[in-house]
């Protein structure tokens, strides 16, 4: 199967990007270097082409009721223009995907699932919508998404679209939706709109000084903040409680997976924990984690924090914060400890 391309493929290659396969898409992993791109986002502003992300619109009088049932969050609590990060679970409480729900108005919401989960989420929504008066429309192939992130992002957004957005709020600006969301932990926004407009926004923001950022730095940026990566930190069997994201659950409403989570709550279970390497080195997913000389887990995510210049990772562990552990890297045991996330 050939890889899908974003409309900016040519521009990425002209900017010197190394292109890789990501969830069936040919995407830029880096333009200059992961470290310098990472620092650009932390210190100035970067722009990401994340057009592979999905856009599923749910409309109709029962939208709020339906999405409250489908997700861990009670959408009755959302006002128009609110964005909410939440999980979509199966009956066992296991995460199918994480997504942001955009409440455009009481009859219209937008979900932004991960690229590799679009079809699964669309089918899941369709399969559970029978009793609700809603229509579900997957417009992922017709919409782009650009993320503008970094301390300078609000200024660039103002310059570009003469608008501003608050954190987790959305605004419609001509044909696009601008939301105060992202995957870097920085100020900034994501711009979602019809595909034929992507070049206009991309070129304008680059001209204003935004630095193009690839998926490599996107990964290190999200990991420093302890954000989950779909397909890596959860890949089918993990629950919201296990990922240590209980804050995305509103217990006071009925949703798929609630009962399973209620039972799990009373038990002891491993939680996704931050790991900070004290010795020099870089961590990688799959790296074995040892406690008291016994292998207890593996890393789901691992890298080097460009800002801390230390190895960081995530692993499902049943250990207290500050527990001393070791990580096996090429046959050697490196010292590390369990820490709270975000790392930064």
């Amino acid at each position: 199967m050939s890889l899908r391309k974003t409309p900016l493929s040519k521009q990425h290659i002209e900017l010197g990007a190394k292109m890789v396969d990501f969830a069936g898409w040919e995407m830029p992993i880096q333009y200059s270097s992961i470290i310098s791109e990472h620092k650009s986002v932390r210190e100035t502003a970067g722009i990401f082409d994340v057009s592979h992300m999905g856009q599923i619109f749910v409309r109709g009088p029962d939208v709020v009721k339906f999405l409250s049932y489908i997700t861990t969050w009670n959408m009755e609590r959302q006002k128009d223009g609110d964005c909410r990060y939440c999980h979509i679970l199966n009956e066992k409480g296991q995460i199918i995907d994480d997504t942001i729900v955009y409440t455009i108005n009481p009859n219209e919401c937008l979900l932004v699932p991960n690229a590799s989960k679009i079809i699964e989420i669309r089918d899941w929504l369709l399969a559970h919508s029978n009793e609700f008066n809603v229509t579900i429309q997957d417009l992922s192939d017709l919409y782009f998404c650009l993320a503008l992130q970094g301390p300078e992002a609000p200024r660039l957004l103002g310059q570009h679209l003469n608008t501003s957005v608050n954190s987790f709020q959305l605004k419609k600006s001509s044909d696009v939706i601008v939301s105060g969301t992202g995957y870097t932990g920085e100020l900034g926004c994501e711009i979602i709109g019809p595909l034929d407009q992507i070049e206009f926004h991309w070129e304008a923001l680059l001209d204003m000084g935004a630095i193009p950022i690839g998926l490599g730095a996107r990964d290190t940026l999200r990991l420093e903040k302890g954000y989950l990566l779909s397909g890596q930190d959860f890949k089918g069997s993990e629950t919201t409680l296990e990922t240590n994201y209980a804050w995305v659950i509103d217990w006071d409403h009925d949703f798929i997976g609630r009962e399973a989570l209620m039972s799990q709550k009373k038990t002891k279970y491993s939680k996704l924990s931050g790991i900070l390497l004290e010795d020099r080195g870089v961590l990688r997913p799959g790296c074995p984690v040892f406690y008291n000389n016994t292998k207890v887990s593996e890393l789901t995510s691992g890298s080097l924090s460009p800002m801390l210049r230390k190895g960081i990772g995530l692993s499902y562990l049943d250990l207290d914060i500050d527990s001393k552990i070791t990580l096996e890297v090429r046959g050697k045991h490196l010292n590390a400890r369990v820490v709270r996330t975000p790392f930064l």
Binding site: G216, V282, R309
Partner: protein, 125 residues
């Protein structure tokens, strides 16, 4: 275009070698290799006195995305390592043929199977 100085010898594994008057071999990775690796963020070097056979993994250079083994270009003993790389692995990116050198080996026998600059240039073209 990657730089390939004419005064050095090369391996197909993208290492360069410089032989001094005493027969010792200084080793690093090529400009092409550092560019492919991108930011080098961690380097694991062997201890002085360690002996390797040609082709053994003797060091590791890690970027954010990947770890790459560096192979011994010749059998012999490690007589010097570049300690500066521990604090500043980025020297490999900044100066792969200069301050970014990795080890010095006292070879057991004379160098064979090496590429000259022209052959190495063809290899990476």
């Amino acid at each position: 275009m990657s730089e390939v100085p004419d005064n050095l010898s090369y391996t197909k594994d993208h290492e360069w070698m410089l032989i001094d008057d005493g027969g010792k071999v200084r080793v690093g990775i090529t400009d092409h290799a550092q560019d492919a690796l991108s930011d080098v963020v961690f380097v694991e070097l062997p201890e002085i006195g360690t002996k390797f056979s040609e082709g053994d993994a003797m060091a590791v250079a890690e970027s954010v995305k990947a770890a790459s083994d560096i192979y011994a270009p010749v059998s012999g003993e490690i007589v010097e390592v570049n300690d500066k790389l521990e604090e500043s692995p980025e020297l490999i990116n900044e100066s792969p043929y200069g301050v970014g050198w990795m080890v010095v080996i006292m070879p057991d026998n004379k160098l064979e199977n090496t590429l000259d600059s022209e052959s190495y240039r063809k290899l990476i073209d």
